[in-house]
Amino acid sequence: MLNRLLSHDLPRSRLLAAMLVVLLLALAFAPFLFPGVKALSVAAKILVFIVLVASFDLLLGYTGIVSFAHTMFFGIGAYGVAIACTRYGPTWEAIATGVAGALTLSFVLALAIGLFSLRVRAIFFAMITLAVASAFQTLASQLSDVTGGDDGLNFRVPDILNGGYAFLDERFLGVNIDGRLFCYYLLFFAALGLLLAMLRIVNSPFGRVLQAVRENEFRAEAIGYRVVVYRTISSVLSALFATLAGVMLALWLRYSGPDTSLSFEIMMDVLLIVVIGGMGTIYGAAIGAALFVIAQSYLQDLLRLGSEAASGLPWLAALLSPDRWLLWLGVLFVLSVYYFPTGIVGRLRVKTQGIG
């Protein structure tokens, strides 16, 4: 049963399995284990990022192509819900319309980009996605009538997802059983379902072909697989999953703006998480996302402490200032691509195989 659920792709490392179980339990009971608004937001952000990063891994880790337009699809999902809810009011129909519209737009865009660039050379893909994503970002901030421009859109969601909606009058285990909690569990089961779906995809025969393309494009073509078709399907699938992650984010935040979903910094975060977690493993996305979001929420505080401690040396203090958080991210990123190319999951699996 468990084996089928995980698509016969077991963690293959005791430590990894333990980490995954801990993560699953922690996320499943987060509202009860870690009370407080900030902790719950961090947990929800982890859920969103798990889906987002796993969908990117489908492309980078399993198919071996780099896309810089992933946050564009993420943003399409978030804005889809936001725009639909602002226009048609906070109803489930509006959300469904927004999701359907966003998925359609992502599908068309991903298909167009994929057919255009992957037909020629896979290396064009990275450059063309970068160009399209930056054009899209500019467009989103300029069409302020629709997208709210740089301010983004605040919108209302159906009442059942709001903190004001109480299911029980009393507190249960010290937690309000309200709409917010319901929203969190909606996200939790959505993330779980999407993650298992992606696990299913990468372990299907189709997923094997993707890995074959990654390892040796020429041979895959020679065996008779149309490399272009497989790459394009992979990029479309990954775009659709990213769109759904965007929907999750928008539902949780009840806001959608350029900084939360479209910005290039999120793209960097996603790249870093995939590399740290381990390219080509869906589990790596989950572990990496959890570690990263936690680090991001608390490491900036650490940097602030360091900066204050080093206030005697101005240049060191400038180096450690919390604003330079991206600098350290970049350094970490470069170092992990050099020395840590298989990421956490790859390391753990190698260790197990070495012993066993």
Binding site: V66, A126, M127, I128, A131, V132, A135, L139, V337, Y338
Partner: protein
């Protein structure tokens, strides 16, 4: 074998695009202003893109961090020009040049030196691995951008044009900004020097041969790697020069400008054919013209128009207008 025949069709694209835009814009004086602006912008982009395309052609290295040299060049120029207020405030063009030329040289030197370090520490360990190259150079760019923010601050810095280059020449009804003419002259100088080096010197011969078939040149006993380091450094220096010009063109500099220009450059080298300098020139001119025409006609879709342009060119010639490498 047939004698080398010049392929004029891509070259014809530039005037064709310009003429197509004429009826859309309507007024011929506006058209002239926009065309000159487009050509000037194109020449600046070409200066930046030429290094990147050679680096790719020669060593199959795709440098996503190229943009950082643009920003470095521009920021160095603000510091140099800032310290030479007397010369930039002067009305005489000659005295202005005394300030601008050292600024350009220093920017090129700094960008080149950083390029040398970038090649050694960022690019060299990942030769031949495209995926890692893209990731690593992107990381390098982030680091560079953050270091710039640390040194010069994260905010936008104005880079005013020297007095003598401000204002415009009036030609009939059309106003042509002086700096755009300066940019065109500098761009053409760079193109002439590049064309001469690539076409008439032994190093240029080796570079061109290396772009076409690296292994063969290595088999003949030349060290392509050493040549490549040189090309990388020169490419970075040119990006620095382009950055100075771009900063003066926009009249302000900001740390993310590299990433912004990078997008245009990628479009240019894809249009031109990876590794081709001539193609990069045509691509840059097309992109420059297109950006200015659509910026006038429909500002909201300006960036998309360049992507559409690239898509159209790729439909016509999937390897770019002048394909050089067989890879």
């Amino acid at each position: 074998m047939k004698r080398f025949e010049f392929d004029w069709k891509p070259l014809a694209l530039v005037p064709v695009l310009a003429l197509l835009a004429l009826p859309l814009i309507g007024s011929s004086s506006t058209w002239l202003t926009l065309t000159v602006a487009g050509l000037a912008m194109g020449m600046i982009i070409f200066v930046i893109a030429s290094g990147l395309t050679l680096v790719f052609g020669l060593m199959d290295v795709l440098n996503f961090g190229h943009g950082v040299f643009i920003a470095i060049g521009a920021f160095v120029a603000t510091s140099v020009l800032g310290s030479m207020g007397d010369w930039t405030q002067s009305q005489s063009l000659l005295r202005n040049l005394v300030a601008v030329i050292p600024a350009m040289l220093v920017a090129m030197l700094v960008a080149g030196a950083i390029g040398l370090a970038f090649e050694r520490f960022i690019v060299r360990p990942v030769y031949g691995q495209h995926l890692k190259q893209i990731l690593i150079t992107m990381g390098g760019m982030i680091i560079g951008e953050e270091l710039i923010k640390m040194i010069w601050g994260a905010q936008q810095i104005p880079l005013p044009l020297p007095e003598g280059m401000r204002g415009s020449l009036v030609l009939g009804d059309a106003a042509i900004e002086k700096f755009r003419l300066v940019a065109m002259v500098v761009g053409m100088l760079v193109f002439a020097v590049l064309a001469w080096t690539l076409g008439r010197t032994k190093i240029g011969l080796l570079i061109r041969a290396g772009v076409q078939d690296r292994e063969m040149v290595e088999a003949l006993g030349y060290r392509i790697r050493r040549l490549f380091v040189g090309v990388f450094v020169v490419g970075s220096a040119l990006a620095g020069l382009g950055g100075v010009m771009w900063g003066m063109y926009q009249q302000n500099v900001f740390p993310q400008m590299g990433a912004q220009v990078n997008v245009l450059i990628f479009i240019v080298i894809i249009i031109g054919g990876l590794g081709s300098t001539g193609g990069a020139l045509i691509g840059a001119l097309l992109v420059g013209l297109m950006a200015n025409y659509t910026g006038f006609l429909a500002p909201k879709v300006a960036l998309f128009s360049n992507i559409a342009l690239m898509a159209a060119v790729l439909l016509w010639r999937p390897q770019g207008v002048y394909p050089v490498t067989s890879r």
